[in-house]
């Protein structure tokens, strides 16, 4: 057995918590726990998705008009940024599994960069909406296409924007947490915490990152691409 292999196993043994029988049980358990956690996340976002469904069905026209205020170019760019970040995240997990900690750290740093890119673009969008009074509350103001024959009630568009801010805001919060987690992996990775025998934190954060990515994959069409045809 090569000496580096023995070192790897020692790292793994140190990572074995006292209440598990072996590394395999620990790995199975931690990844099962992560999947359960993601299940709770689905239900957490599920409440908002349910509200979206109900109000979109009731106030379709208002939702169409709200969605036309979205910047599709920025939204699409952000979608691409997130998909790329998921790729670098997946490659990072692969690098950890293959025992290439330096490569892993580089890939995770790129992932963090993509994450900040997403948040930056989102901030530009938020700023635009804020300037245009497209934030729900007393300052909300929305002109429907033809003021003489309003196709929809601006208050219903306000509900669209409430859901827009709540859903994308919650998603952005998850992104911030995700960036923090990946940063923690980078630091631990630099200290040599992960080896092919022990890398389940990397795997779990990867699962989380993909989940947050996936939420956006749903949010983008739901909020930005409701309908071109029914617009004004």
């Amino acid at each position: 057995m090569a000496t580096s292999d023995i070192g790897d196993i020692q790292v793994a043994e140190r990572a074995l918590q006292h209440h598990f029988a072996d590394m395999e049980q620990q790995r199975d358990t931690s990844s099962f726990g992560m999947w359960m956690f993601l299940l709770t996340e689905i239900m957490f976002f599920g409440g908002l998705f349910c509200a979206y469904l109900v109000y979109r069905a009731s106030y379709y026209q208002a939702f169409v008009e709200g969605s036309q205020k979205m910047n599709i170019v920025l939204g699409a760019t952000n979608t691409a940024v997130l998909i790329c970040s998921s790729l670098t995240m997946a490659l990072g997990v692969r690098a950890a599994q293959m025992g290439k900690p330096k490569l892993m750290v580089i890939l995770l740093l790129i992932t963090i960069l993509f994450g900040f890119g997403f948040l930056g673009i989102k901030a530009v969008e938020y700023h635009e909406h804020w300037e245009n009074h497209e934030f729900p509350g007393p300052n909300f103001h929305f002109e429907t296409g033809n003021p003489a024959h309003p196709a929809s009630d601006p208050q219903h568009t306000q509900i669209y924007f409430s859901l827009y801010w709540a859903m994308t805001g919650l998603h952005a919060l998850h992104m911030v947490i995700g960036i923090g987690l990946v940063a923690w992996l980078v630091i631990a990775g630099l200290m040599g915490a992960y080896t092919p025998h022990y890398y389940n934190p990397v795997e779990n954060v990867g699962l989380y990152w993909h989940f947050v990515d996936l939420v956006w994959i749903y949010l983008f069409p739901m909020l930005y691409l409701i309908s071109k045809k029914h617009g004004v």
């Binding site: 918590q17 006292h18 209440h19 029988a21 049980q25 199975d28 358990t29 931690s30 099962f32 726990g33 359960m36 956690f37 299940l39 709770t40 996340e41 239900m43 957490f44 976002f45 599920g46 409440g47 908002l48 349910c50 509200a51 109900v54 109000y55 009731s58 106030y59 729900p136 509350g137 007393p138 009630d153 208050q155 219903h156 306000q158 509900i159 409430s162 859901l163 801010w165 709540a166």
Partner: protein
């Protein structure tokens, strides 16, 4: 030599180290259970105090003791504290935390640090809610119905909602830990068919915690956002739909009553079989009934909304689905009674509480069928009939089960026996006090007395006085165990590892258990509840 060895105190989870830090930073599931026990007991007394204030006000028909505003706050805070900060964590977070790893033969729960985090979240949530209560209170009812809670109420709704939001994550993490532990941490030979029914019940409750709690979290978050920023999601003036709030609220809060009752049913399954000295009747049916209740429980929420304006067809479907929950619940009750049939029953305190549970839960469950019936629900909706039904299930059922479990496993948790005679007296007082308190409320509700009012017509006074008198007896019944449990810590008889001559892995380790539970990972080669092959030793306690 032997006596010399015995004088050295055996190391256990209580004496392995000392100091406040060793408790507040512990990751031992047994110590976390104790932390939860202390916290939820404090919450129980606070919620009980509010209940006593309510009962005192209702002693006379006129609203003379407290104003109607204060009364609104009292029943709201009673509900919030008892539901979210006592009943939901009660059996899972105290007994479940302590026992699930022991019962499956594990050294700890799957995620010990997450377990500690769940207690801190519980405390943070509880303190947030308490601050909201101390600084002005909440008057929306524990249900936070919109638009009253979001627009019109002038009380600290946001604080209470955020408190429940935070405590919800504590519940999610506990549920997650149980599911993963039961899947992945079972000892060799501990198959699903040998798993104690207590674990099955907590597993079923954990499914609801994990799937339901996030929905109430996001719902209360929306309520807080609506109040803070007027986003309009639940405000009908802005096109929002208050019914959507009720749907989202009850999607969690109905299954939540199964979070409360299922672990209690698990406790009763353990106790009935132990004190009947017989293998539990229909093990598979009891186990799967827990899962069936958890699954069906997600499909019945709108029976809280029959008079709220949902479509009549939806109401019909929800009424029918609500009936279905009665089937697995009845399976359990029948199987417990069949277990006792021809058993050699011993009347120790846990068994007395279990008898109480079975009887009172049956009354509570059957009146639930009344309420699921559309016609009757319209008649008794928002009356004391609903209050009585709910308390029969939650206090007569769940709190009884919690008390039963606390007495049953007290020797395991502390290594000391409680005084049996006093405990039997307390069980009797609780049973009598409970029925005197809540049975009159069935009649009051049927006669049409609406709930949540601080004054009532004089013709209802006799039954209300009866109810308040019962509440006083009930209070004595709860104060007694508080005293003798604390007393037993110092003066109770040494329990030994297995005072009830029970089967199950938790009884094979010393009391109190050592920090790592098992010196060697146990290998299970026997069936669950194998009481027929258990030697019939004379039990020395309690006679």
């Amino acid at each position: 030599m032997a006596t010399a060895v015995q004088t050295v105190e055996r190391e256990n989870y209580l004496n392995s180290n000392y100091g406040i830090k060793s408790w507040l930073l512990t990751t031992d599931h047994k110590r976390i259970a104790i932390l939860y026990l202390i916290s939820i007991t404090a919450m129980f007394w606070l919620g009980g105090f509010f209940a006593m204030m309510i009962r005192l006000e209702l002693l006379t028909p006129a609203g003379d003791l407290i104003s109607s505003d204060t009364y609104n706050k009292l029943f709201t805070m009673h509900g919030i504290i008892m539901v979210f900060f006592f009943l939901i964590p009660s059996v899972p977070a105290v007994l479940g935390n302590f026992l699930v790893p022991l019962m499956v033969g594990a050294k700890d729960l799957a995620f010990p640090r997450v377990n500690l985090l769940s207690w801190y979240l519980y405390m943070a949530g509880a303190i947030t809610a308490l601050v909201a209560m101390v600084t002005g209170g909440v008057d929306t009812g524990w249900t936070f119905y919109t638009p009253f809670s979001t627009t019109y109420s002038n009380t600290h709704v946001i604080g209470a909602a955020i408190g429940i939001f935070i405590a919800g994550f504590s519940s999610i993490l506990t549920g997650l830990n149980f599911i993963v532990t039961i899947h992945r941490m079972r000892a060799p030979g501990m198959t699903w068919r040998r798993l104690p029914l207590f674990c099955w019940a907590n597993y079923a409750a954990a499914i609801i915690m994990v799937l339901g709690t996030p929905v109430i979290a996001i719902t209360l978050l929306l309520v807080a956002l609506e109040r803070a920023f007027h986003i309009g999601v639940f405000n009908p003036q802005l096109g929002g739909d208050p019914l959507l709030f009720q749907h989202l609220f009850w999607f969690y809060s109905h299954p939540a009553v199964y979070i409360m009752i299922l672990p209690g049913m698990g406790v009763i399954s353990e106790i009935v079989t132990c004190f009947s000295r017989k293998r539990v009747f229909g093990y598979e049916f009891i186990a799967l009934a827990s899962i069936a209740i958890a699954v069906l429980g997600f499909l019945v929420w709108a029976h809280h909304m029959f008079v709220a304006g949902i479509s009549v067809y939806a109401a019909l479907v929800f009424s029918l689905l609500s009936y279905l929950v009665a089937i697995p619940s009845a399976v359990k009750v029948f199987n417990w009674t069949a277990t006792m049939y021809k058993g050699s029953i011993r009347y120790n305190t846990p068994m007395l509480y279990a008898f109480g549970f079975i009887g009172l839960f049956t009354v509570g469950g059957l009146t639930g069928i009344f309420l699921a019936t559309l016609g009757i629900d319209v008649q008794v909706h928002d009356t004391y009939f609903v209050v009585a039904h709910f308390h029969y299930v939650m206090v007569g059922g769940m709190v009884m089960a919690y008390m039963a479990g606390l007495h049953f496993w007290w020797p395991k948790i502390t290594g000391r026996m409680y005084p049996e005679a006093w405990a039997k007296l307390s069980a009797l007082l609780v049973f009598v006090g409970f029925n005197t308190t809540f049975f009159p409320q069935f009649i009051l509700g049927y006669m049409g007395l609406p709930r949540r009012y601080h004054a009532y017509p004089p013709e209802f006074q006799v039954l209300n006085v009866l109810s308040t008198a019962g509440a006083s007896i009930l209070a004595v019944g709860y104060v007694l165990p508080m005293i003798y449990f604390v007393w037993s810590l110092r003066y109770g008889k040494e329990a030994g590892p297995n005072p009830w001559n029970a089967v199950g892995l938790e009884w094979m380790v010393p009391s109190p258990p050592p920090t790592h539970n098992f010196d060697e990972t146990p290998v299970v080669t026997w069936e669950a509840y194998d009481y027929e092959h258990q030697p019939q030793e004379e039990v020395t306690v309690g006679h």
